[in-house]
Point group: C2
Amino acid sequence: MKIKYDLLKKEKNTKARLGKIKTNYGTCLTPMFMPVGTRATVKGLTPEQVKDCGAGIVLSNTYHLWLRPGEDVVAASGGLHKFMNYNGPILTDSGGFQVFSLAKNKEKDITEEGVHFKSHIDGSSLFLTPEKSIEIQNKLDSDIAMSFDECPPASASYEYLKNSLERTLRWAKRGKNVHSNENQALFGIVQGGPYEDLRKLSAVETVKLDFDGYSIGGVANDGESKEDMYKAIDYSIPYLPEDKVRYLMGVGEPIDIIEGVIRGIDIFDCVLPTRIARHGQAFTKKGKINLNNKKFTTDFTPIDDNCDCYTCKNYTRGYIRHLITTKESLGGTLLSIHNIRFLIKLTEDIREAIKEDRLLEFRDQFIKNYEIKKK
Amino acid sequence: MKIKYDLLKKEKNTKARLGKIKTNYGTCLTPMFMPVGTRATVKGLTPEQVKDCGAGIVLSNTYHLWLRPGEDVVAASGGLHKFMNYNGPILTDSGGFQVFSLAKNKEKDITEEGVHFKSHIDGSSLFLTPEKSIEIQNKLDSDIAMSFDECPPASASYEYLKNSLERTLRWAKRGKNVHSNENQALFGIVQGGPYEDLRKLSAVETVKLDFDGYSIGGVANDGESKEDMYKAIDYSIPYLPEDKVRYLMGVGEPIDIIEGVIRGIDIFDCVLPTRIARHGQAFTKKGKINLNNKKFTTDFTPIDDNCDCYTCKNYTRGYIRHLITTKESLGGTLLSIHNIRFLIKLTEDIREAIKEDRLLEFRDQFIKNYEIKKK
């Protein structure tokens, strides 16, 4: 079967929704944060450690797996779940974002047919089309595939965005036409930058193509402001059907997750928790801390008070600082576990707040605590 | 209490022994392989993963912990077990080996008092003495401390080795005099290169100082031959008491472990299993394999048939090759788990062979399988 989304409850004071996604690899509740496993591995974590963080869906990257080891290798192993030993649901992105952000020297040639660009690994010439992206994802056999879209930079003009989203609509249709994996859902992506009419146009036309879920893209490319992000959501959500899941791509700052949920978003993904972990940073309820800071040398308390993650139950800031400063990989692993758990726990708390119609209070209290630390 | 060694059985056809070491953090059987956690972490593994490999004692490095984070930091956290969250027994080396192998530009000035050298991290001037080494280890609060010794290179002359081991004897005595941790055993180290009379002299005089266990050093410094290693063991063992444990430092090649046990050794340590893992190499019963080899791309079998480790139960050669070639740290973690388990399982099999007095057959069969692959 493909995925099935059930809307369980709408919050009274916001557009927030409590929902449930049924997949062939288990059922997850939304709002949800998806850890990112770019190359078929959430960096530094075993699948058991990912699951222990409370993870539902994990995201993996089509572009990276296309290049290495290749979708045919993954398919030969029995598909992505078997390949990476993750028996939970997996979403693959379309490769679009990576083509636009990782292409060597960012040189690319966008045609109606697809995108010509150079590999970020060896500079070889590559050509990705909507059909190819879907074919790769069909072979990877993820539970959710994403349509191939153009991700224009934040600096793109209205004119550019309009032409781009219209092409992305044509690409979405072409991708859908070749999609052939009966156990895989396919999501459409709404683009249009911070413009109300463009987001409306993109949402309405994408929904007409009847996807299994909808994503809002173009909010985390390079340099979009929070305001633009909120606009992109606010201008898109009214045109998305209530009975389909809504996914805000590439967003992982705690406050953005809360604000996204308030605006009607169900799922999020971001490399942030693992990326900042490898640089020694950790989320806490009072804001981020940097374990490279010398003051943590003899701090033998957990990263975050009352956190229920494996790291906080067993290790101290002082020890993790030692691992980070000596470049021991366990440091990144322990901080990644904490940071992923932090965001997943945040969505669990958000779900409780939605149940009790107190999400706005929850947001205000969260921000208040987070701000204390910032000063 | 300090550790307690019980000799359970002597093998009929060799000098191999089955034994038991009781520590404040649990009891382990010998022969045993100790994984190395240089900087209070077995590289890339959680303590649970280390334990799941069947590990008993873990080794950590005094020199590294002295420099970072400092023994006082470890002591303030509650000692090394608490600091690194390892509730099994820990052995710390003396720092001697690192002073001689890691000192910046290998510049060092060995005096009767101790060794002046430069930090491998920042080039700062350091001075390590037998007393200081023991004081650091007392504070680290490991279960077993090692005497501070000089580790001469394989190229050292007879004359040099004689003077060196005599000084090492004086250092051993000085260290023992300041040793003050009642829960920590202290081992002496036998030096003397490949010379029978020097090994005898060193062993006899070290035993006179009455340590809680004895180590054979100078077999894995830089470029000692296997022949020299076997000589070092054969010339030392006759003078070591039966009721104390015997530790061959820095040895981790499977065949060397078997040959060491046959010659009377009880415990071994080596960075080999984790170091080669990070470079993509894995032990198998048919010899080492290198997962960087392209032929493993679509090999969806486990690293080693019938291996009971977490890695072999859940992952394929193809997936691990993918992780190694894309430099994903999980690759090193999974191979480290396998390689550590491989050596620990080897010692478990050795123990079974000793019980049944068939260690020589076991060796011959092991070498035969291992050689097949080499061709």
